[in-house]
Amino acid sequence: MKRRLGFNFFDLFVLAFCVVFALICFYPIWYVLVVSITPYEQFLNTPFVLAPPLNPDFTYYTGIFTSNTFLRSMSVSVVVTLVGTSLCLLVTSSVAYAVSKTHIRGMKLLNAVAVFTMFFSGGTIPTFMLYKNLGLLENPLVMVIPGAFNVTYYIIMRNYFSYSVPKELEEAARIDRANDIQVFGRIVLPLSRPMLAAIGLFIAVGYWNDYYTYMVYCQIPKFQPFMWALRRMLTDATFTSSTSSAAQQQLNIPKIPALSLRMATVIVAIFPILIVYPFLQRHFAKGILIGAVKG
């Protein structure tokens, strides 16, 4: 009888499990958002954050958007993301299209050479030495240029050009005496626009979230990206946040940046991602990125 109702304890368990885990994944972001608009004194009284405060306090956001350091680092991040993404899309997609024509001499070899880099790399220090020789060390260009070829997205794009762009259309255009340039520009690129948009978003998220390149190779405060500005603020507070208040009083540590300010900065850092997330999700759910693992 139970089965005929179509809902049993198994379903209940599945539902509960999924809902609880989804809330665990979402709650941290909600928590950060609520704390960022709660006055600190009020937060201390109610550490179990659930609902947004009745008297939201946006002063920390105005603080961020009037701070020169943050405004500057934000514009650095925006420029790095836009330029880096365009460059990476251009370089990676054109080589991926060329290699998808496996019957052309040399393309199979080129593919092997490219895929090999997915499994073996020179490592941190040789990369460091290379940048040093190329003059990329302590040069803001280092945040953009070395990422221009991305092997993961290369594989996805190559598979897409090989399997998802109908061969018949290309053949038909060739019969109509279209040359390679016309086939690429008028047929392949327009048909690949959804894929390019999706991968472009992933690349953009990668550039926006990148702090490592700046940390290891750049280190010019003038050009610090937003993630690094956030990192600095969070770590300046790390010592104090991992010490108890009693110890803090003993050591006489100066007052840390208010928790709410830190949380507001986190929200600003993830805001662009939240904006593009619906588009991201629509694309990756379709399985465009599955090709990556099938190599």
Binding site: F10, C18, V19, F21, A22, C25, F26, P28, Y31, V32, F43, P47, F48, V49, V91, T92, S94, V95, A96, A98, K101, H103, I104, A114, T117, F119, F120, S121, G122, G123, T124, I125, P126, T127, F128, M129, L130, F149, I181, N209, V216, M227, L230, R231, T238, S241, S242, S244, S245, M263, A269, I273, Y277, F284, A285, G287, L289, I290, V293, G295
Partner: protein, 312 residues
């Protein structure tokens, strides 16, 4: 037939004529080749540094040879053993809990019957993957902070004493494992869900006619279908055995948890870049990159013998 004639014609024409015919495709490949050569293969040339004593003025090539001295030096550092053990331990925990949790989560999401709930749940569980580790570690620090942190507030409400989580070496690995599950497991289910979506619904219907319940269907239809996917992802996971996620550790650790949390990549970074011991740092990188490469080749062979598809 048509393709064969094309091939025959191509074989007849000379190299320059061939280039002239397909010049556009080669031109498209040029920037990619250039970036590959400089930024992917360039550092591989720098691996020579592991066998040299660097003389900054002379450059890598003209610096004197050092033989295997730097490799011997690596293992004279006591911290390297610790870093290897920590890396293996953290990866083993991730494999044991993280990897299996992803499969379980994928099965659960697949069994979820309410379409609306399912799409909202998926939206939420994929989201943390896109946040940078800087953001995520900031959130972890806030949640685990003494005094005002959420977890300590709960402990206080339960009458328990305060724990300074991120300074407890004994807890650090577990914090990483849990954080990693929350951050990445949702996104990792996508590939399993795609594999499950390929199962023909008729299989489930005929199983239902034969009186199978949902457990039977998961056990005998869904799971066998995703075994190849599990195998492939397992290879990738094994290949990463020596390369713990740098971002994850670097953004959350502190000297207080080096004992259980300092991993190979963070150690190489501190020695190679922090202390400017370029040769030893390079040698370390070479050893562990090489090891990972061997593991991935071996694992791929093994999986092929098991008669499911490999990754190459």
């Amino acid at each position: 037939m048509a393709q064969q004639t094309v091939r025959l014609q191509e074989r007849k024409i000379g190299f320059t004529a061939y280039l002239r015919k397909y010049w556009f495709l080669y031109v498209l490949a040029v920037p990619g080749i250039a970036f590959l050569a400089v930024f992917s293969y360039g550092p591989m040339y720098g691996l020579l540094l592991a066998f040299k004593d660097l003389n900054m003025g002379a450059g890598i090539l003209k610096s004197p040879w050092a033989g295997l001295d730097h490799f011997k030096t690596i293992f004279s550092y006591p911290e390297i053993t610790r870093a290897i053990m920590n890396t293996l331990a953290i990866n083993a925990l991730n494999l044991l809990f993280g990897f299996t949790f992803v499969i379980f989560l994928a099965l659960m999401l697949n069994e979820l019957r309410f379409k609306k709930v399912k799409s909202v749940a998926q939206t939420f569980v994929y989201l943390p993957y896109f946040l940078s580790w800087i953001v995520f570690s900031g959130i972890i620090q806030t949640f685990l902070a003494p005094d005002y942190g959420l977890v300590n507030s709960i402990l206080a409400a339960l009458g328990k004493g305060q724990i300074v989580f991120l300074s407890e070496a004994g807890l650090y690995r577990w914090i990483l494992v849990v954080a990693n599950i929350i951050k990445t497991s949702g996104y990792s289910t996508i590939i399993y869900l795609a594999a499950i979506a390929g199962v023909s619904p008729e299989l489930y219907e005929s199983a239902k006619v034969d009186g199978a319940n949902r457990f039977h269907m998961i056990r005998h239809i869904t799971l066998p279908r995703i075994v190849p996917t599990i195998a492939v992802l397992l290879i990738l996971q094994l290949a990463g055995m020596f390369s713990a996620n740098f971002d994850m550790v670097y953004t959350t650790y502190s000297p207080m948890v080096f004992e259980t949390g300092d991993v190979i990549s963070t150690y190489i970074y501190r020695v190679g870049i922090g202390k400017a011991q370029y040769e030893v740092g390079t040698a370390m990188g070479l050893v562990f990159n090489g090891l990972s490469f061997l593991v991935i080749i071996a694992a791929n062979k093994l999986i092929r013998k098991m008669d499911v598809m490999g990754i190459f």
